[in-house]
Symmetry: C2
Subunit: 364 residues, 2 copies
């Protein structure tokens, strides 16, 4: 089979293993699903109702510009509809963004251990990825900027708050980065976890600022991961550029209805954010009782420092899986001394509390 | 805004206008939605129920390999799971296929007037599109093969049955094409409408044949256009290649549940196919009463020959829109002497029957 040269040079292996696949390999379902930063608190009941109702219209293609949702998001963020692009989740939007901005051989800068799906897209379109280390368990704006200048990067990826560590920068730190970007370099600000973060962690950036694109999602705080819907915010010229390449009828119609209803229920969002904050405290307490240290988190997960190395953390993840707990961990040192536990309702954290001591014993 | 050179050279205009967008421009909804070959007969009630139930799990990401659905499709087609790839509708699968096979400058062959979204993807990845004319309102295998040899094409696109004309070739015609493909040229066989076609129009091709990839969808006969789910069938090595580039968690979880349930309800599929056949007859009768000639169709739409030219047909489409009927038409001569009407339930065809004489008058 002769693929085009670019994909022919890409790894043939499947890069990401989801919990269902792990369950099939184990032969038993997990008792607690704490690995994918999903929201087991679920979506707003109003969003769930809107989705069930939208099933009656699913024989129709979705509205290509997601008109109603785009306008509702523009109102929500007090920007113009031309600043918003609804897409098939941040994963899909990142793929389109890389395709739009990065030619084969172009430099792209990210942090070593940051979101792997972004790296997958950069490799997939022939970009050359440069990674800088985290600093104090946070992405390092200075190092990112320095490397971007040194390489003439087209994109800098920065998640704020960060996945997988849960750390964050204050808004002004991000704002200050914009003035120091190399020419023709765009800051990709992944704000998937923004709804969980303190207000001070969300930078104030003019909607039409052409130096940054912000990515938001309904997968996390809004509880709609399976619906595959998110959005980008940026300058109109950049947002309009996606129309050259995107799959115009790619957004699920039921997801459009669900997202619209979810956005209109701020009470549910506040409820989830409060539940997540309580769950983070509970995870930290469970961790402390087992000799692990919870790192501060502005997300719906907590990184737990084992105080040891990646081999130990990997053994602990495997032992947790053996106890029926699906969790994940950072992929690179020194972050990989930690395991990552998603916030979840009481029952699933009860499972964690019960399982962790045995998993710790087994991991040695 | 500096895009990468390839997208920078693509048209900035939005290529496709959906019915909701036309309704917003008109300021009134359409009374009959007969332009997008959707199935207003809807999905199986079992599929609808499965989707409403799946809303309860939508906080989880979908299963990346769509394991259950892939296995059910493999059973359905009596092939191996490795022959099947579930994706975000044929539009999404075609985009990934072009990306996997076509490098910038590579030749691709299609028919002049065939599915524009395929052409959009070819342009989007820098392929050079070569178009051959239809012959007797059908795609022309001889001309496609000849042009592919002349250009060293990597892909030949052929829809069977064809959109927008509704014509089809017998299976052996397609099968015979495979032996005459140029080296390293893949036949892209778009079978979006296969469920409506006579059995003789579906070629018999070994599942592992590396010379062809078949595209199927739940958008048409299964009534799930808004769910964005379809699949490709081909040789395992080709199917596995998609794992290098696809958005692994891109398929909506509710869509996975709906497609699985739809596939398990052949009775509903048979019902829809029968309703569509009756609707085609009714459309032909309405056309005849207005001096238009229905072309034979193996799809869920009918091309109506106005006996005049593209300008007239375009005027007729505009006049129908003015009467509340959303319809479309082929984009190039001589196909554009026709308008295209989707099969639909009785009420919507009543609207057509009522509106068409006035639209004919208005179009002159």
């Amino acid at each position: 089979m002769r693929f085009a040269p670019l994909p022919a040079g890409l790894p043939a292996t499947v890069p990401f293993i989801g919990p269902e696949e792990l369950e099939r390999r184990r032969g038993v379902p997990f008792a607690a699903r704490l690995g994918a930063n999903e929201s087991a608190f679920g979506p707003s009941p109003l969003a769930a109702r809107a989705m069930r109702e939208a099933v009656g219209q699913v024989w129709k293609y979705g509205d290509a510009p997601s008109h109603e949702l785009t306008h509702a998001l523009a109102d929500h963020h007090r920007v113009a509809p031309g600043n918003i692009l609804v897409g098939e989740g941040i994963d899909g939007l990142l793929g389109n963004l890389v395709r739009l901005m990065v030619a084969p051989g172009d430099a792209v800068v990210t942090s070593d251990g940051a979101y792997p799906t972004f790296n997958y897209h950069v490799a997939g379109f022939g970009g050359v990825l440069h990674k800088v280390p985290y600093r104090d368990d946070a992405e390092d704006p200075e190092a990112l900027l320095e490397r971007a200048h040194a390489t003439g990067a087209r994109l800098i990826y920065l998640a704020n708050p960060d996945n997988p560590m849960g750390s964050w920068h204050e808004g002004p730190v991000i704002e200050a980065m914009l003035d120091r970007l190399p020419p023709d370099c765009l800051l990709v600000l992944d704000e998937a976890y923004a709804e969980f973060a303190p207000a001070a962690a969300v930078p104030r950036i003019a909607a039409d600022d052409p130096r940054v694109i912000r990515m938001r999602t309904f997968s996390k705080a809004y509880g709609l991961a399976g619906a595959r819907i998110g959005y980008a915010m940026g300058a109109p010229e950049l947002i309009a550029g996606f129309a050259r390449i995107r799959n115009h009828f790619g957004v699920n119609r039921i997801a459009q209805a669900g997202a619209l209803a979810a956005l209109a229920d701020p009470g549910w969002l506040a409820h989830v954010v409060a539940e997540v904050a309580a769950a983070r405290d509970r995870i930290a307490a469970i961790a402390a009782a087992n000799g692990l240290t919870a790192l501060p988190s502005a997300t719906n997960f907590v990184a737990l420092d084992t105080g040891r190395d990646g081999d130990h953390a990997r053994a602990l993840i495997a032992a947790l899986a053996g106890e029926g707990v699906f969790a994940r961990m950072p992929g690179t040192a020194p972050l990989d001394r930690c395991i990552r536990i998603s916030a979840a309702p009481i029952h699933e954290l009860d499972v964690l509390e019960d399982a962790l001591p045995r998993a710790m014993d087994r991991a040695g």
